[in-house]
């Protein structure tokens, strides 16, 4: 079965500095991978998705992620953090089978300091 591991439960950065949220996946074949963001009391919002096209995926709000098969990683980055980026981020793999249900990581809470 597919799974994802988010390596940090909390990340704290200063506004204007780079963001790195780490994710490793486990899959027996080329997976579909996603990053979702969840702001407090808000629904999950898709940031970006990788579906076996370009390995560098650009998403909304300046985020991007690089699929590295050799490292089984799909880390999320942003060059310059903004206060509004403070939220919880989930790395997600799509499990094959009926419906391609999503398997979520445990989440990383991003704190942005002014």
């Amino acid at each position: 079965a597919q799974s994802v591991t988010q390596l940090d439960s909390h990340v704290s950065v200063s506004e204007g500095t780079p963001v790195l949220l780490r994710c490793n996946y486990s899959s027996s074949y080329s997976p579909s991978l996603f990053w979702y963001v969840q702001h407090p009391n808000k629904g999950l919002q898709l940031l970006l998705k990788y579906t076996s096209a370009a390995t560098l995926v650009k998403g909304i709000n300046g985020f991007e992620a690089e699929f590295k098969k050799s490292e089984t990683s799909f880390h999320l980055t942003k060059p310059s953090a903004h206060m509004s980026d403070a939220a919880e981020y989930f790395c997600v793999v799509s499990e094959t089978g009926r419906g391609n249900k999503l398997v979520f990581g445990a989440g990383t809470i991003l704190r942005v300091k002014s």
Binding site: G43, Q45, T51, R98, G99, A106
Partner: protein
């Protein structure tokens, strides 16, 4: 509506009470999913519908949990004889195709069992 609508937004139930959570997917979306998100954790898959057919209910934690989508649009998740461990946010998502790509999540129903 423009998005996935869930009601109620908040529900407090006494232990042993039955509850019903409603999901209105985006009109025309074929696939509908329910996820459970416990405090401090990532969402976990409960069940999947393709139109009115429940194709996967492997994530339902016990026989107290029941979901239906009788006309292939609105879905209801019912929990009988609620227990404290059922306290969580219940998320509904829909997608236009037969797979899980292009999910749109609702804001969830926060269930607290006291």
């Amino acid at each position: 509506g423009a998005g996935v609508s869930q009601s109620p937004r908040y529900k407090v139930a006494k232990r042993g009470q039955d509850v019903a959570l409603r999901c209105d997917p985006i009109s025309g979306h074929v696939s509908l999913f329910w996820y459970q998100q416990a405090l401090g954790q990532g969402p976990e898959f409960l069940t999947y519908f393709q139109n009115e057919a429940q194709l996967d209910k492997s994530g339902l934690p016990s026989d107290r949990f029941f979901a239906e989508r009788p006309e292939g649009s609105v879905s209801t998740l019912k929990i009988q004889r609620t227990q404290q461990e059922d306290s969580a946010v219940y998320l509904c998502a829909s997608s236009p195709g037969q797979g899980g790509y292009g999910y749109t999540f609702g804001s969830g129903t926060r269930l607290t069992v006291v």
